[in-house]
């Protein structure tokens, strides 16, 4: 179906990449590194789900990397003070809710442009962290890594939690009225208002949800090693936004699926390992990532041009 052309294109590109890897670099598929690689992408995936919702509702949030760092550090301080795992997770998500709500209030109720609001909050959180932690790597207490399980079980848990979130969010976006509200608001806020949907509440809710997911992503990142660095979320925003857009989420809102986001993230996340496996020099990495983003939107732009308006 033409509606899902982008998802199919990305799936095709991902399939091709995986196929080439299978032929020329079968090592890529060794179970343990494969699982580890997948696990390490899960926090970005969860964040990308959140950012996809934000973009579908016709906003943007570039503070998510800083939010993740902040949540991770707050959570590890909480863990360091002896809180049990469950409470640590809740702390992280709670911090995310507060930061998301701040963005949400400023965007939805005060009416400031989201790109500027989140730019400001991004800087604010980053600087707060630097001031607070001075770049110290924080050691986590026992029982946090892999949720206190074995490595295999922990990895399974991280992957299944993340995939559950993708599936649940995809399901909700498709099948719950709330999901359709987000599409409706992103598609035309005034029409949404006339149809009895409150665009401001929806926008606010999306930012809060983004915060929750950032908090969760922080936990999923936290459990993968025994220490946490205060800059652990740096660059996440670009990665997640690129994944969403490459996966077919329209930057003007109203369009896109979380399946596309999943595929987009896997595609972009595998470019780098693939370069390693193809023995390409690392200094081409950024240029190729940029090209992949441009090619993806280029394909979209050309396709749009052919269609009658």
């Amino acid at each position: 179906m033409s509606r899902f052309s982008r998802e199919l294109t990305v799936a095709g590109a991902l399939g091709l990449l995986l196929l080439i890897l299978a032929v020329f670099a079968p090592n890529f598929y060794h179970l343990q590194p494969f699982i580890s690689r997948l696990t390490s992408q899960m926090p970005a995936l969860v964040a990308a789900v959140g950012i996809a919702l934000v973009i579908i509702s016709r906003q943007i949030d570039i503070s998510i990397g800083a939010q993740l760092s902040m949540c991770a550090i707050i959570a590890s301080v909480a863990a360091g003070s002896g809180l049990p795992l469950g409470a640590v997770i809740l702390t992280s998500m709670g911090a995310g809710v507060l930061m998301g709500a701040l963005n949400g209030v400023l965007v939805a109720w005060v009416g400031l442009p989201s790109i500027v609001v989140t730019l400001a909050t991004m800087v604010a959180w980053q600087e707060t962290l630097r001031l607070w932690q001075q770049g110290r790597m924080l050691a986590l207490p026992e029982g946090i890594q892999w949720f206190g399980l074995s490595q295999a079980a922990g990895q399974t848990a991280v992957i299944s939690v993340s995939l559950t979130i993708v599936i649940a969010a995809a399901w909700a976006m498709k099948n719950l009225a709330l999901g359709r509200f987000i599409y409706a608001v992103g598609s035309d806020a005034e029409a949404a208002r006339l149809a009895g949907i409150d665009p401001r509440r929806t926008t606010f809710g999306v930012f809060v949800l983004m915060g929750v997911l950032a908090g969760l992503a922080a936990v999923l990142n936290l459990v993968q090693s025994p220490q946490v660095q205060p800059n652990c979320g740096d660059g996440l925003e670009l990665k997640a936004i690129a994944a969403a857009v490459v996966g077919g989420v329209a930057i003007n809102g109203g369009r896109g699926t979380l399946w596309g986001v999943l595929l987009g993230l896997l595609l972009l996340a595998n470019v780098n390992p693939a370069l390693t496996h193809f023995h390409l020099p690392p200094y081409w990495e950024k240029a190729i990532q940029g090209l992949v983003i441009l090619l993806a939107v280029l394909a979209d732009g050309l396709g749009r041009r052919k269609r009658p308006r």
């Binding site: 690689r37 630097r130 932690q133 110290r136 090693s225 652990c232 740096d234 023995h279």
Partner: protein, 308 residues
Amino acid sequence: SKSESKGKLTIALLLKSKGNQYFVTCEKGARIAAAQINAELKVDGPINSDPAKQNEIVENWITDGVDVIVAACENKDSISTALRKARAAGIKVVTYDADAQPDARSFFVNQATAQGIGEQLIDTAATLTGSEGEFAIITGTLTSANLNEWIKHIKARHAAKYPNMKLVDIKPCDDQKDKAQQETTNLLSTYPDLKVIVSVTSPGVPGAAEAVKQAGKTGKVKVVGLGLPSENNAYVKEGVTQGVILWNVENLGYLAIMAGAAVAKGDLVAGATEFDGGKLGTMEVTGDQIILGKPVVFTRENIDQFKF
């Protein structure tokens, strides 16, 4: 000079980056020294990777009229431009940790030469692997000047002394531990015969160690690198990381200030062969360099003694 008229020496300590544990420790040593000689200490450094920031800070100090600038240089050539200006303005300049161009400072407090660091790293790696097999390097960012300098010396020593070792890849981790972990995972699966991973950046060491541990290759793939003992303690004890190499960072900061003060007071002038390094005793001066001493290799046995 100015210092006499004011009575109290003002020393400015330039860090490569603020909010970085390594330099936080340096600063600690520097404060001890400043308190000891009753000098006023200003500390500043960039908080992001903007290569122009260090120059800006130095030029601010020039207008402030400090007596001495003690600088760790991120970009050798750029910072030299600013340091030369400082010298022209009558400010004494001493570098530490990473040097500037020789004409931009009077002395360099060297924790170990770039060559020494590079060679120490590959020598340790070679010892661990019997001088053969594949190795890979984790670096900070591709554009970081002094990391590249160290890598250059690793490569030179490798070519000269270890023909049976093979450098398979160099990966940047953007000074993020998590990224180092991911890159190491990729390296491990791309090069199944990899024998050792060398990290020239401190977040890279625990990152690489965690990846090796998760891959179940503890002991089979060795990890060595420049790093802080506190961040690597657990891995060293578990036997994942074999060699963490670092000088005594606190002493480096301490000595840098002592050298700066000595230059300002005229106790340390060109041609000197030794000077009073305070609690470190009399330090030897070789040409225009003051060597802190050999780097420490932190091992399971001694790592608990170092608290930074």
